[in-house]
């Protein structure tokens, strides 16, 4: 068989059911056997879309996303999704075409050094020079992408390697892969786990600080057990919304720059943070030296380099989140527990005094974006998947949608990639066709990648898009209002240019424009009833609306700005 056939067969053997991609010169030979393959191929309109779709697919299903593009610009166009997946630890296998081996290094047509470019944003990458290596490299690529701390990998496939003849051989079993430098640890150190359980049982103001690693480790059920056994409050970071049900009494919601007052302040006042698959990101800690000053730290992460990277833990445990949480629960069972009632009295007082809030829309004025999200959440199936772009709408979607199920919230957390929502939602829906998938997007984000709705329509992937159209790059506008003396520089976009309804219709979608509060719920119901094509709703929202609470960049979490109506004197 050819190298191209060996590559496709290898992808099939890894259980690949779908590839998001776009062909071109150097990858042409690999596209030929796709015709005869069981793998579905989704033809995107821009390679960035392929990468984000693969990410959305991976986050919704827990399986690695696979994308395939050609060399040169095809490869560089997918660099942003690779960087995004690296920041959010999303398992991705990206196959790029490359110019023939003899042409490498000659500045050939559509040549670029994509393994060099992506070295710092992949877990690893491979340039295949010998077709006999294909089976091993693909097996290694999937193994590396999905084990340990998951992440993107890239396989660069020169055209002549794809065209050459090779005898097929099965890839070795995982234990026989030749990876002498790769040994991810999954079991935590039992002594450290016992110590951690003891600390947790003795703490008077503990908080379980839950990050995306709990979702990656499929540890939600285990977390529920530990939380209920310990009685400790739980905060779920931007990457972990849904890892613990918002409806659970012990859930305090999201901490961080736009976290709610109780979640932020609980971390600040706690005497013990149990960090589970979180990485003390600057958006969570605020000023690091003022973060949770009196807390001891238990840090559980599958990546040992995270332990002590930002904050030195009192107990550091390297291991898989589910295994460690389960072991910690077991070790906790027989321990006497400290009385948390004073802590809960304090937390409940904060919850009562500083709930997430926003002003009601004035008569005849634009919609409140938070109200639109609450209506979406209340009128969509409970297991709907929500995908957002980056900016104000992302924060409101993280705050105001009620997340009760794991892997129902997908966003670009670490990298903050605008334009993520539409393609990632398509990938999520492709992987979970049984679910309702809502992209909650901003007007700025939507304009970056909206053309993938053509892909969605032609591939029969009926996602729904709610554009919170405030005619601004809203988060930048918010910062200019608050920190740049209302000097609005290059943030105005216009509500009508483009005409989002016509644009949606031109792409084969149903388009609606909603500017009255009374029409919000009927439009959502109508959208949820449509299952044969994508729907886009242009919600006209209030440009003045800002995301609160807010901790200014570089400020201490103690300086949290709550909603104006909750401030002293209000």
């Amino acid at each position: 068989m050819t190298g191209a056939q060996a590559l496709i067969k290898s992808l099939e053997n890894q259980g690949t059911e779908i590839i998001f991609g776009l062909p071109g010169g150097a990858i042409l030979p690999v596209y030929d056997p796709i015709i005869d393959s069981t793998i579905r191929h989704v033809l995107v309109r821009h390679e960035q879309g392929a990468g984000h779709m693969a990410e959305g697919y991976a986050q919704a299903t827990g399986r690695p996303g696979v994308a395939m593009v050609t060399s040169g610009p095809g490869a560089t166009n997918i660099v942003t999704p690779i960087a995004n997946a690296y920041m959010d630890s999303t398992p991705l296998v990206v196959v790029t075409g490359q110019v023939p081996t003899a042409a490498i290094g000659t500045d050939a047509f559509q040549e670029c050094d994509i393994t060099g470019i992506t070295m710092g944003i992949t877990k690893h990458n491979w340039l295949i020079k010998d077709p006999r290596d294909i089976a091993e490299v693909i097996a290694e690529a999937f193994y590396v992408a999905t084990t340990g701390r998951p992440g993107p990998v890239l396989v660069d496939m020169p055209k002549d390697v794809a065209q050459s003849e090779v005898d097929w051989h099965d890839a070795p079993q995982i234990d026989d892969l030749d990876l002498p430098g790769y040994h991810p640890r999954t079991e935590g150190d039992p002594a450290a786990i016992r110590q951690a359980a003891e600390l947790l049982s003795q703490a008077e103001r503990p908080v379980l600080y839950v990050g995306g690693g709990v979702l990656k480790g499929r540890a939600s059920a285990a977390l529920l057990q530990l939380a209920e056994l310990s009685g400790a409050p739980v905060v779920t970071t931007l990457m972990a919304r849904g890892a613990f049900p918002d409806s659970h009494l012990q859930c305090l919601g999201m901490p961080g720059m736009h976290g709610n007052y109780t979640a932020v302040t609980a971390l600040q006042r706690s005497d013990l943070l149990v960090s589970l698959g979180a990485r003390f990101d600057d958006r969570v800690t605020g000023r690091v030296d003022a973060f949770a000053p009196s807390a001891k730290i238990i840090h559980v992460d599958i990546d040992p380099a995270e332990l002590g990277k930002v904050r030195r833990p009192d107990i550091g445990i390297t291991g898989d989140s589910r295994l460690v949480i389960e072991a910690m629960t077991e070790a906790s069972r027989d321990l006497a527990r400290a009385d948390l009632s004073a802590w809960w009295r304090q937390l409940n007082e904060w919850r009562e005094r500083y709930p997430l809030t926003f002003d009601a829309a004035e008569e005849g004025a634009a919609l409140k974006p938070q109200a639109v999200i609450e209506a979406l959440s209340a009128n969509s199936p409970a297991d709907s998947i929500v995908v957002s772009g980056v900016g104000q709408h992302q924060m409101w979607a993280a705050q105001h949608w009620r997340y009760d199920h794991p892997n129902t919230w997908i966003n670009s957390g670490g990298a903050g990639t605008m334009g993520f929502a539409v393609p990632a939602a398509i990938g999520a829906k492709a992987g979970r066709p049984d679910r309702t998938v809502w992209a909650i997007d901003g007007d700025g984000c939507f304009q970056m990648t909206a053309q993938e709705l053509v892909t969605a329509r032609s591939e029969q992937i009926p996602i729904k898009v709610a554009i919170l159209n405030n005619s601004y790059l809203g988060m930048v506008r918010q910062w200019q209002e608050m920190f740049y003396e209302e000097r609005y520089s290059e943030v105005y976009l216009s509500p009508d240019l483009p005409d989002y309804v016509k644009w949606a219709e031109a792409m084969g979608c149903v388009g609606m424009r909603i500017d009255s509060p009374d029409d919000v719920v009927p439009a959502i119901e109508k959208a949820n009833a449509i299952d044969d094509r994508p729907v886009v709703i242009d919600f006209r929202t209030d440009e003045r609306e800002k995301v609160f609470p807010m901790v200014a960049a570089g400020a201490s979490n103690d300086e949290i700005m709550v909603h104006p109506s909750q401030r002293d004197g209000a």
């Binding site: 060099g116 710092g120 002498p180 430098g181």
Partner: protein, 178 residues
């Protein structure tokens, strides 16, 4: 003031340097992966030496002198260990390691200047490995400190001097307390 990075003939070593002896798979691009990691994480490399390890086909050993002030050493080691091609990392504190480095220097000399140079070479235990009518090339293997001293004396005696150093290699001391 952070110490200056290693550059050419300056062989200033930071007080808090550590020596990492890194066994890597001998694959294309591995040096680039290691060097790239240091630069993008903001870790300073003072010197770096690479050579095939025992098993020439499969492994190489990279000896990196790293400024432990630029980042906590455990962060450097932790991130380095995540590179797929990195098989083993040994952290050698200077007091627990024997270190050696090689220096080559070419001096331009008139006949009258030769004699002081020759005594300098003899005194340091260096060797003359090449010469022409006007120039002489000497070599010295020793501790980085010995090489620093030799280089300083050479610079003093020979205004026109070209020096190359390899960067150090190191192994654990057999009697660390000695």
């Amino acid at each position: 003031m952070p110490p200056e990075p290693y550059s050419g003939t300056k062989s200033h070593t930071p007080v808090t340097h550590h020596i990492l002896s890194v066994l890597v798979e001998n694959k294309a691009g591995v040096l680039s992966r290691v060097a790239g990691l240091f630069s993008r994480r903001g870790f300073n490399i003072y010197s770096l030496a690479v050579a095939p390890a025992d098993d020439h086909e499969r492994f190489s050993r990279i000896t990196i002198v790293v400024d432990a002030e630029s980042a906590p050493l455990e962060q450097v080691v932790g991130q380095l260990d995540k590179l797929l091609n990195v098989v083993e990392i040994k952290d050698l504190a200077p007091a627990e390691a024997v270190e050696r480095e090689l220096l080559l220097a070419t001096a331009e000399l008139s006949a009258s200047e030769r004699s002081p140079l020759l005594s300098l070479v003899a005194h340091a235990g260096a060797a003359i490995i090449d010469f022409s009518a006007e120039r002489v090339t000497v070599s010295l293997t020793g501790t980085p400190a010995a090489l620093n001293a030799f280089e300083a004396s050479l610079t003093e005696h020979c205004p026109s001097l070209e020096v190359q150093r390899t960067g150090r290699v190191a192994l654990p001391r057999l009697n660390p307390s000695a």
